[in-house]
């Protein structure tokens, strides 16, 4: 795995940091690679937008911050707006379909999931972040599924493992059902193509 940079955003209470934490843990602790996770602190973390970044690699990570993410996981409109221009030209957007009015760009792959609705369907909207995590894991294919599932088990509060694994699997399945293996992502309709900002 060459260095991969990821940003996860959402609003406070969505479990943005836990989502990023599990990705990092799965890659470093379970898959034997390296990952550095940094959650945003400071005034920006006090408001409604919340964000965490990850650098994943099979080599030691020297630079801890990210510059431009390869993958951008957006769970809220505000977080999306704040960071969407950072995504690399050939980057991948993973977003909460019902909450994020994504403006898809040419060259970038985009994958949407109604993760909140799916979580509600499982009886707990709280596990939205884990649905999103399962979806992310399937989209990115960066870390073997079992390693991420194990990281979910080890990171969520005791007693909630089963529910969270269900949420994870629901997110994963959504990808398989709607995009299939090797998917190119959402079609970029002409109307939504955003030209580079002048």
């Amino acid at each position: 795995m060459s260095r991969t940079e990821i940003r996860v955003t959402g609003y406070g209470g969505q479990g943005v940091v836990l989502c990023a934490y599990i990705i990092g843990r799965a890659n470093a602790v379970n898959a034997g690679n390296h990952s550095t996770m940094i959650q945003s602190f400071g005034p920006e973390a006090r408001g409604s937008a919340c964000s965490a970044t990850l650098a994943l690699s099979d080599e030691e990570i020297l630079y801890p911050y990210i510059r431009r993410p390869d993958i951008f996981v957006a769970m809220s409109a505000e977080g999306y707006d704040k960071h969407r221009d950072e995504l690399k030209p050939k980057g991948t957007l993973v977003y909460e379909k019902d909450l994020v009015p994504a403006r898809l760009k040419k060259g970038q792959r985009s994958f949407g999931i109604p993760s909140t609705r799916i979580a509600e369907g499982l009886g707990r909207s709280l596990v939205q972040n884990i649905v999103m995590l399962g979806f992310f894991a399937a989209v990115s294919g960066l870390i073997p599924r079992d390693e991420v599932r194990k990281a979910v088990e080890d990171s969520v509060p005791t007693g909630t493992e089963e529910l969270n694994l269900k949420a994870f699997d629901a997110g994963w399945s959504y990808f398989e059902e709607h995009y299939g293996a090797g998917a190119e992502g959402d079609a970029v309709a002409a109307a939504t193509v955003v030209s580079p900002v002048a």
């Binding site: 934490y21 990092g24 843990r25 470093a28 602790v29 390296h34 990952s35 550095t36 996770m37 940094i38 959650q39 602190f41 400071g42 005034p43 973390a45 990570i61 020297l62 630079y63 801890p64 911050y65």
Partner: protein, 385 residues
């Protein structure tokens, strides 16, 4: 001796530097922590306050950092390993009783998760601008020991080292972390307790009548008696004789201060610790510490790709400074390049040791983030032009 298993969370974890530091303290046998909340250090005591009740430890949130440091020095005199944790503004308040700790020769640990300064500065963003404060912050002459971790793993390892050094030399030892390492989550391997080497508090074996609290024992580190064991000793922040009695004289001051300094200076070779790479035949040596050591490596790699012979020195123990090695190297290299998240602190030490034989080039950063590796490589390239 080996660590008390009660404090050791053996396993492979994914932890931030603050949590890892807290785990290091508990693994080292720390059982008393006094602190006052301050970003970005608070997670250390949050971790500890959660786990302490299960291992016979006591955490108290004091009314301020003056009190926290005083309580830590007090608790250390009971033999219980003690620590406090803070950031710049609190570090400033602690200086008073850090001096008391140095004067009374009290083994204890102070963690400073550095943020940008001066004053309230950048509470949530990185800095390395308290390095000279760690060296000189309290008034009077004393020699501190300080370590600087560059990752959560090192935050764990170096906190254990800090406790061990505090026991060996009877001084307050600093863990000079920074916000970036403190708030960065990475893999941390915590070994089984029987693989963690701990220096226990060594108590005097002399009976109360014969014991002198500040007697020079050859290695300059006096023997320790803890409160409550019948020694009825006296200790003071005033200049004191071997009995720990105040004595206001030039002779006593000379004896006292020179021993305080010599117990560290005389053992500097044993205490200093750094990683050295490819300095043989190097034209430039990059010296760095803490989080900056990581980006410095990137800068070195960039410069090497352009054909420059670059060596690397990464300090693990920052105080005492490895004067001897820098002096030797200064006879062989053109220049030292010193990136740090401040406007020139450790570079002054490099300059002092290089004494004009080699250049000492600062790559400053005012705080709030880490260097661009390119700023470091271009300083390296500039040094060989």
């Amino acid at each position: 001796m080996k660590a008390d298993p009660a404090g050791v969370l053996t396993g492979v974890h994914y932890l931030d530097g603050d949590f890892a530091c807290g785990e290091g303290a508990m693994a080292a046998g720390c059982r008393f922590v006094a602190g006052y909340p301050i970003t970005p250090s608070t997670e250390v005591v949050e971790r500890i306050s959660r786990r302490f009740p299960m291992m016979g430890g006591t955490f108290i949130q004091m009314e301020d950092e003056l009190a926290s440091m005083a309580a830590v020095v007090g608790a250390a005199w009971t033999g219980t390993k003690s620590m406090t944790v803070t950031s710049g503004p609190g570090f400033s308040l602690m200086m008073e009783n850090i001096g008391l700790g140095a004067m009374m020769e009290t083994p204890c640990v102070v963690v400073n998760v550095q943020r940008g300064g001066p004053s309230t500065g950048l509470p949530t963003m990185a800095g390395q601008a308290d390095m000279m404060q760690a060296r000189w912050g309290s008034h009077g002459d004393y020699e501190p020991i300080a370590l600087s971790p560059r990752s959560p793993q090192e935050a764990f390892d170096f906190t254990i080292d800090a406790f061990n050094l505090a026991e060996q030399y009877r001084v307050p030892v600093f863990v000079m972390m920074d916000e970036c390492v403190g708030h960065m989550t990475e893999k941390v391997v915590i070994p089984p307790a029987e693989e963690i080497e701990i220096v226990p508090r060594k108590l005097t074996e002399k009976p109360p009548g014969e014991y002198l609290p500040y007697q020079n024992n050859g290695n300059k580190v006096p023997e320790f008696a803890r409160a409550g064991d019948g020694y009825r000793f006296h200790t003071t922040g005033l200049t004191h004789d071997e009995r720990g009695y105040p004595e206001m004289s030039e002779e006593c001051q000379e004896k006292n201060v020179s021993r305080l300094l010599e117990k560290i200076r005389g053992s500097a070779d044993k205490i200093t610790r750094f990683v050295e790479n490819e300095t043989d035949g190097a034209d430039v040596v990059v010296l760095s510490y803490g989080i900056t050591a990581r980006v410095a490596r990137m800068g070195i790699d960039l410069a090497r790709k352009k054909g420059v012979k670059v060596g690397e020195i990464r300090l693990e123990v920052v105080w005492p400074f490895p004067e001897k090695r820098i002096r030797e190297l200064s006879k062989k290299v053109k220049a030292f390049v010193v990136p740090e998240i401040n406007y020139g602190q450790m570079v002054l030490e490099v300059e002092r040791c290089a004494a004009g034989r080699a250049g000492a080039i600062l790559v400053p950063h005012a705080g709030g983030g880490v260097h661009d590796p390119e700023s470091i490589s271009s300083a390296i390239l500039g040094a060989v032009k």
